[in-house]
């Protein structure tokens, strides 16, 4: 699948100091991804896949190595530029959907637009359109507690998509769901990818990872399969 390079990682190291000892979470990660790719990062817990996701999502910075996102050196960006980058380029989906319990579904979806400075009417329009897209047009005014796990995850997906990001970054998106609901979410991901959304999904479940077009295996902080280097 030919497309523009979305990001490129070269020789990424991530060390944490825990109890005076340096722990190498990520070791010499080389990874690049192109527009419209659907990629899953597969690894057991403790393999460093969540740290990798944080670095991809610009929530964390690598200890060493080079990370360019749409041609920009992430290391050189300040906090505001990083926030803007997250706001425009990346849509996060977390394991437990992480909706704000005081806000209804529509308000939750509007949240990223608030930080992007979108006016209330436009915000509402886009949130409603996005909830419709994930099949929740009749649940817009429900609070998260009034929604099923699958519906909550759909709201989270709508929230991730509403800012029209270049990439969806999902951390165990089906981790808290039963198999049937999980399959529905996977179906939704497939549709989104068919619409040329770039998706990176992090999981420990081979069956889930198999939905992606490309699987990257990570064990003990090293990519054992599926990594690639593209000269940007």
């Amino acid at each position: 699948m030919a497309g523009e390079v979305f990001f490129n990682m070269r020789g990424i190291d991530k060390d944490y100091i825990m109890g005076g000892e340096t722990v190498h979470i990520l070791k010499k990660i080389d990874l690049s991804i192109e527009e419209s790719e659907y990629l899953s990062v597969l690894g057991p817990s403790g393999s460093g896949k969540s740290t990798l996701m944080n670095i991809i999502g610009c929530l964390d910075t690598p200890t060493a190595g080079e990370y360019t996102l749409r041609g920009r050196e992430v290391e050189e960006l300040d906090e505001h530029e990083l926030a803007a980058l997250r706001s425009h380029e990346i849509g996060f989906i977390f394991q437990n959907s992480q909706l704000l319990s005081r806000l209804n579904a529509r308000k939750n979806v509007e949240l990223p637009l608030i930080y992007a400075g979108v006016g209330p009417r436009e915000r509402r329009r886009r949130a409603e359109a996005m909830l419709e897209r994930v099949g929740l047009s009749d649940r817009m005014d429900h609070l998260p507690t009034q929604l099923s796990g699958g519906q909550q995850q759909r709201v989270a997906i709508a929230r991730a998509l509403v800012g029209n990001p270049s990439i969806l970054l999902a951390d165990e998106p089906t981790g808290a769901l039963d198999q049937k609901t999980g399959a529905q979410i996977m179906q939704l991901f497939q549709e989104l990818n068919d619409e040329h959304r770039t998706i990176i999904m992090i999981t420990h479940d081979m069956n889930i990872a198999a939905h992606a077009r490309r699987i990257v295996r990570i064990i003990d902080g090293e990519i054992t399969e599926g990594g690639s280097v593209v000269d940007a």
Binding site: F94, Y115, G117, P120
Partner: protein, 403 residues
């Protein structure tokens, strides 16, 4: 540029509505927290309003007593120990002076027939005193200039003397003995002589005699204390310095022979003291405000810890630190301004009740309200700053780790 201003307003509006949601979501805790601010503001408002009510009524009773007076106390020099009637006359002829009332007091042994009473307060007055208090005499005549000039042995008596000595007898025309000297009673006066400031300090006399006669009984040619009543529209400071100039001449420019005190300056001193007192009390009450502020800080710090995930999430969704900080600041600001407004209302109610009990006039003190509201707003921002900053600096990774 326009877009960024617009988006800032959008942000602020959302922050306010999110803050209100959060405050409402924690009703009990929010209420307990704003209680601290409320009590502080209530205390400040109550103290300031009550003290200003009290000082208002003190000021008005001062003006009733006569702001337009000067009180002169004479200690005298080695050569001249007091003011003679002629000296007093010179003072009363000054341009700004309407008249003077000398103070001559003694405690007399009073007898009528076989009845004897000791320690009766007797006061020497001049004719001008009765001109000033024209409603005083209710029977007979007052003491006049002729009595003053002739050292007449005449007197006017209070109701108490009438009750004591003249039960069922018309006192006017009778002769009463004061310190062994016979005085003809020419009049009777109202009990409450309303005799100005002197009456408050020395009690009202039971018998009034011409001051010249009083001086004679006291074996003195001089008066050591008198009150000057200023002419209408006279400036009390100018009058005071004129009186001082004149009296300097009378006492041959000897130093420290007399002091002239104006009522206006006493009132001013009183007002300054009350002002200081109310500032002091308000200062003490502000401690309650600071304690309330610490309560707010405590709650906000707890909130930040509780909402770590929310903060991390918002950062992941593109919130910049400033946006997180302003949301928490607005929350603590709203909390404390709300407490402040409740405190203002409660404080006004309490001070209204207090003023009714104390019998002073209730005045809504705009300054106190502004102070209460302003202070609570400031407390909200100052004590909300640290928690808000803490929230804004949370690393999104750490904040999201619990996910």
């Amino acid at each position: 540029m326009l877009k960024s201003i617009r988006s800032t307003f959008v942000m602020l509006g959302e922050c306010i509505s999110m803050s209100v949601d959060n405050i409402r979501g924690n009703k009990v805790r929010s209420f307990l927290t704003l209680l601290g601010i409320m009590i502080g503001v209530t205390a400040v408002i109550t103290l300031i309003s009550t003290v200003s009510g009290v000082s208002g009524s003190i000021a008005s009773s001062f003006s009733e007593m006569g702001v337009g007076t000067l009180t002169v106390t004479v200690t005298g020099s080695d050569l001249k120990s007091g003011m003679t009637p002629d000296d007093l006359k010179k003072v009363s002829e000054l341009e700004q002076v309407d008249g003077i009332v000398p103070t001559v007091t003694m405690n007399g042994r009073v007898s009528y027939g076989n009845q004897v009473e000791t320690n009766i307060p007797v006061s020497g007055k001049n004719a001008y005193y009765f001109v000033l208090n024209e409603d005083l005499i209710i029977q007979g005549r007052s003491l006049n200039y002729i009595d003053d000039d002739n050292n007449s042995y005449v007197c006017v008596v209070s109701q108490e003397i009438v009750d004591t000595f003249f039960f069922g007898v018309n006192p006017v025309g009778e002769t009463i003995y004061v310190s062994g000297l016979p005085f003809l009673i020419v009049g009777r006066y109202k009990e409450d002589s309303g005799g100005g400031i002197a009456a408050i300090f020395s009690g009202s006399p039971d018998i009034m005699i011409p001051y010249t006669t009083g001086m004679k009984i006291n074996n003195s040619n001089e008066v050591n204390s008198f009150t000057i009543y200023l002419a209408e529209g006279a400036d009390s400071e100018t009058a005071k310095s004129n009186v001082e100039d004149l009296m300097d001449q009378i006492f041959d420019f000897e130093e420290d022979c007399f002091t002239v005190t104006s009522m206006a300056s006493i009132e001013q001193t009183m007002e300054t003291m009350l002002g200081m007192m109310s500032t002091l009390l308000a200062g003490i009450a502000s401690i309650a405000l600071i304690v309330g502020g610490i309560g707010i800080m405590n709650m906000m710090l707890t909130t930040v810890t509780e909402r770590t995930i929310e903060i991390g999430l918002k950062k992941a969704l593109g919130a910049i630190p400033w946006q997180i900080q302003i949301q928490f600041l607005i929350e603590s600001f709203l909390l404390s301004i709300f407490g402040g407004l409740l405190g203002v209302i409660l404080g006004l109610l309490i001070s209204y009740a207090l003023c009714n009990v104390l019998g002073t006039s209730f005045v809504i003190n705009g300054g106190a309200i502004a102070l209460g509201v302003g202070f609570s707003a400031a407390v909200g921002i100052i004590f909300g700053w640290v928690p808000a900053r803490k929230a804004s600096r949370l690393n999104p990774i750490d904040a999201l780790r619990s996910i």
